[in-house]
Amino acid sequence: MAERRGPTSIHGRLLSYLLAPVALLLVAGVAVDHHVIVNPIHNAFDHSLSRAALAIVARIHPGPDGQPQVGLPEHPSPPLRAMAGEHFFYRVSLPDGTTLAGTPELPLAPDDQSADGFNFVNINFRGEAFRLASYRTSETGDPLVVTVAETPLRRDRAVHRLDVAFLINDTVQMTAVLLIALVGIRIAVRPLQRLSRQIIGRPPEALTPLSTEQVPTEVLPVVESLNTLLDRVRDSVLSQQHFLANAAHQLRTPLTGLKAQLEVLGRDTAGTPLQERIALLHGGVDRLAHTANQLLTLARAEPSAHRDSHFTPLDLQHLVGEVIDSSLDRALAHGIDLGADSRPVQVNGVYWLLHELLNNLIDNAIRHTPAGGNITIRCGAEDGHAFLEVDDSGSGIPPSERERVRERFYRGGGNANDGCGLGLAIVDEVARVHRAQLSIHDGSTGRGARMRIDFSDPA
């Protein structure tokens, strides 16, 4: 499964939202565990320390002088002996502080009148930390204080070991929770991925509503608003196409009538003074018809106007042949040699749009090439990309105007030809629809212009 990271990834966001709280929970859990376990452990060790004190008490006997005597062997066995690496001290003293046995410097735990007579305290003794217990008792007769102290290494080690165990245990649990959450997220976002595949798999011009089946309730509003949007786009595209079709019909029909009537009138008035004025009128109607056609083409070339964008694989060489065939008479009438230098090359395109593109380029070339000149259409593949070129031997386009000629209704300086200034705008628009680039160069013979369309899709 392709994993998408980054700020817009639901995986990433959920993970980052989960990770911080889970890490906090982990720390808190270990701390709670530590606090829960540390007192029983300390109590157990304190208990064992108090047994050492009781063991000492057991060895106290009243001496012959009435003074209590402590009969400890030279090398006592535990609990009266320190383990390796630990220290153990004891002191038997009277309530007035007189030491009877053991280490006289050992301090006493303050008496807090506890029921069992034991008092515990943490101290520093001879530069080391000690746990110290004082047992105040009168069971041998006179009140005595038995104090024992040991280094808390074992209890610290026990607490530490348990802490580590808790940490490992809690980490394993949290990781398991995270993994389960991640798997859960994956499963939960599957409908989203299905939805995105459904959207990606649609042809770009498909404006039909998305299916709401198997869409989770949380995502349903998204799908529904998408469908509303698609509805609106479909409506506006349909109404635009309807408008264009109507406009085309309403413009073209009377223009056809006017044009044909003027042609008939021109023929009927041949040889009379009226003929010249009718020819002027005819020229005007022709220009009007041309402009109307170009405007309609431009409107239909806009990407938003694509009802059924017929992007089909087509051969540019075939297209070149077709367009030359239909433009040949116009070129011959202007005394221009129109020819081709083409190789077969496939592009994915809308046939009639590319037809308009090439037709406009040739139309332009014919307008700007004097009689006796030539126009060559080239197509083929270069570096794996298809190109289309119209090369003429006409007046050319100065570099300073090469950007501006693409603007709508722009007409070159001193241009007395009857173009409406939309030809290259149409070419530019159609090229854009096909992810192709229009560039303008000097003609290859050193004169004229070379208009080149480079397709970005691999040929």
Partner: protein, 221 residues
């Protein structure tokens, strides 16, 4: 030659009628598809010009109906719609050619001439271009003076292929395919040689124009 014109716009209808009558045709204009059947029942037409955007029954449905009824009347569609869809639709339904408004009258007249010629050629098995008469069943060509041209088999094949697409550019590849029935190894240069011989034999009755980088076109005189 009689042409049936189905066009609702009177400005267009009147101009086409005047224009075509001026070039020697008889034109009967009708304003809607519904009047067509009655006209066809009692008159023989060589061609019908049908506007697609008719009131009531539209042009496409008229074309469909005519073809379903078995009529082989040549049909030229004129329309203000320029989408490829409509064009393919009309041609699929059985129209013979398609012209987008606004067109020039000479263009319309040329299309009419070509369609009528094609229909006549199919009937008579003969194609006439300028002064040249090509007898398809007799596999011979006659010049303006009525003399049979002495053509080799390859020259005849080239002329036949060009004549079938007269007025249109025929690619060198297509011409090569047309003559490779006899020889497998024909180079582009060989075609040029055959065409140049054919050209001199045709004399002035018809012209074979060479189109740089594309092929050849057979033109009137």
């Amino acid at each position: 030659m009689r042409i049936l014109l189905v066009e609702d716009d009177s400005l267009v209808s009147d101009a086409i009628t005047r224009g075509l009558v001026g070039t020697g045709y008889v034109v009967d204009p009708v304003p809607d598809a519904e009047s067509v059947a009655a006209r066809l029942a009692d008159t023989h037409y060589d061609l019908a010009i049908v506007d697609l955007g008719l009131p009531g029954e539209d042009g496409l449905s008229l074309v469909r109906k005519l073809r379903r009824s078995g009529s082989s009347l040549p049909l030229l569609i004129v329309t203000a719609r320029d989408g490829l869809d409509d064009r393919i639709n009309a041609l699929d339904l059985g129209a013979d050619d398609y012209l987008v408004k606004p067109f020039a009258l000479p263009e319309l007249a040329a299309r009419c001439r070509a369609l009528i010629r094609r229909a006549t050629a199919a009937a008579a098995n003969e194609i006439v271009i300028g002064g040249l008469r090509i007898d398809l069943s007799g596999r011979r060509a006659l010049n303006a003076a009525g003399e049979v041209l002495e053509l080799t088999r390859r020259e005849w094949s080239i002329l036949e292929c060009l004549a079938h697409h007269s007025g249109r550019v025929v690619s060198k590849e297509r011409l090569t395919q047309a003559i490779t029935g006899w020889s497998e190894d024909i180079s582009g240069n060989a075609i040029e040689v055959h065409v140049s011989r054919l050209r001199s034999k045709l004399g002035g009755s018809a012209t074979v124009r060479g189109i740089r980088g594309l092929g050849y076109r057979l033109e009137d005189g």
